[in-house]
């Protein structure tokens, strides 16, 4: 039985082309990109080439706006701590939302201990931030607004264009964590009012351990890692050449295929939900019905707890998750679903199916076939289900 991977918001399979592009940099092309000799120049050229490809995918005006990091978490830390550090004398207030990734939320929590004031705006039942709430939260001390492009758990796409405009009008920096949106929905930094963007390679079929931060030219930001003059002195440390090359290749492929892949993936996802909701009663779709990443499907199964569903699907070699991979050790119901007003009991029974270009219709058919008896068996075991039975 082939396994079925439906946890692509956690991480994705690396593309063959990406691995092929990377391998030489782990064999003969092992130079340090800062070295003057040919070994170094080869590595430098590879990084420059990758930077161009990432800049193209993001729609940056210049390659000098792209800085490689160890991943999305570092980029989020850099964005928030960097702006707070650079503008400390101007103000100490940050606006973000309650449904951000923990890379943003816990960075804000840390800064609160350092004297930062943080406003966490709420979301509506679909997981949308209301730009008016952002506007209302702005004070003369606000230095940064950080709102994710799309949510990792439910896939809701936030009104980042409007929020960016508000930020620009008020002269406040706008950061967006676009880790989940990258390669799934087309966007362009130069067409948006955005100053800083966090992205990661492994969510777009690239390698783990590499990401990037887009910093619009002229943005004041304090480096968070000190050392040599790497990454235009914004982020020290010998470059992860192989990883960066892989990121570049993944970005190039994503840009070529984003639209055709997105349409096909969305059709598969909708087919999956149609199958699940027609065969299983008392299910709910979590997230915005339309403004949602094309690959993400978060479904609540009433009367059940999520882990028992995940484990049962795992026994059928189907990989899904409850909420986000980063919080699977937590006993709390998802902070995202709770913020959306989902009843805490119902939030416990929510499962995220996240697709990629590698999924097929026959895989969806298998999930639709396997899931109903699992749900039935677990519901028959659930004391909450009694009284709802026909």
């Amino acid at each position: 039985m082939n396994s079925i991977y439906l946890d692509n918001n956690a991480t994705t399979k690396m593309r063959e082309e990406v691995l092929e592009a990377m391998l030489p940099y782990y064999k003969d092309l092992y130079g340090n990109a800062s070295s003057v000799h040919e070994f170094g120049r080869v590595a430098r050229r590879a990084i420059d080439d990758a930077r161009q490809k990432v800049a193209d995918l993001l729609g940056a005006s210049s390659v000098e706006e792209i800085f490689f990091t160890s991943g999305g978490t570092e980029a989020d830390n850099f964005a928030i701590r960097g702006v707070f550090g650079a503008l400390r004398s101007k103000g100490n207030h940050i606006i973000t939302s309650v449904i951000e990734h923990h890379a943003v939320l816990n960075t804000c929590k840390f800064l609160e201990k350092e004297g930062c004031k943080v406003t966490y705006v709420t979301v509506d039942k679909d997981g949308l931030v209301d730009p008016e709430n952002i506007k209302r939260a702005i004070t003369d001390k606000t230095v940064l607004i950080s709102i994710m492009y799309a949510n990792n758990e439910v896939g809701t796409i936030e009104p980042v264009t409007e929020i960016g405009q508000i930020a620009k009008e008020k002269g406040i920096y706008f950061h967006t964590d676009a880790v989940q949106a990258l390669g799934k929905v087309p966007f362009s930094a130069k067409d948006m009012d955005v100053d800083i963007i966090s992205i990661s390679a492994h969510k777009i079929h690239g390698p783990k351990g590499v990401g990037a931060i887009y910093i619009r030219k002229g943005t004041k930001i304090t480096p968070q890692i000190y050392g040599g003059h790497h990454e235009m002195s914004k982020r020290a440390g010998t470059e992860n050449v192989g990883g960066i090359v892989g990121f570049g290749k993944a970005a190039e492929l994503a840009q070529k295929e984003i639209l055709q892949d997105g349409g096909r993936i969305k059709d598969l996802r909708d087919y999956l939900y149609k199958g699940i909701s027609s065969k299983i009663e008392s299910v709910r779709l979590n997230g915005h019905p339309v403004k949602r990443l094309p690959n993400t499907l978060n479904v609540g199964f009433k009367y059940l707890e999520g882990e028992s569903i995940v484990l049962n699907l795992d026994m059928e070699a189907i990989a899904v998750s409850t909420g986000s991979a980063c919080t699977s050790g937590s006993l709390e119901p998802s902070h995202v679903l709770t913020a959306m007003g989902v009843d805490p009991g119902d939030a416990q029974g929510s499962i995220r199916f996240s697709l990629s270009r590698y999924n097929t219709k026959s895989e969806m058919d298998r999930v639709i076939e396997v899931l109903p008896p699992i749900i039935k068996r677990l519901r028959d075991m659930s004391p909450l289900y009694e009284g709802h039975k026909q």
Binding site: E307, S308, L311, D314, L331, P344, G345, M381, E386
Partner: protein
């Protein structure tokens, strides 16, 4: 998640023993709440000699919650009320080959469900029901 579960936990999760209800149970224990992600309902049937002759459960919860429910029903069957009260959460966890630290509360819940069912039995007996 699964990686942290012992084989025995997974075995009880895959094939839970004694799922269901006992229509003429003389003790029912209800513990937990949906916000925490676990609810256990334990049914016991006790005979004239105060021996637990049957036990069944219904549980809303994670893999560990289902496995501990299953195990506690196995452990109490054939025991007297007095002996059943001595079953601790550690005994349940141990019988399952251990639980991940973050899931130990599930064994506590199983112990509480059992105590609650026995309490219910004793109350009913006292009131002559």
């Amino acid at each position: 998640m699964q990686g942290q579960y012992s084989e025995k936990v997974m075995e009880h999760f895959r094939n839970p023993r004694n799922v269901g209800e006992i229509p003429d149970a003389n003790g029912i224990g209800n513990v937990g709440n949906p916000v925490c992600g676990d609810i256990m309902r334990l049914y016991i049937k006790v005979d004239d000699k105060e021996t637990i002759t049957d036990a069944k459960f219904k549980t809303f919860g994670c893999g560990a919650a289902i496995a501990t429910s299953s195990m506690v029903t196995e452990l109490v069957k054939g025991k007297t009320i007095q002996d059943a009260l001595k079953i601790s959460n550690h005994a349940v966890a141990e019988a399952l080959g251990g639980l991940p630290k973050i899931k130990m509360h599930c064994s506590v819940l199983a112990e509480e469900a059992l105590k609650s069912a026995i309490d219910d039995y004793l109350k009913k007996k006292k009131s002559g029901a």
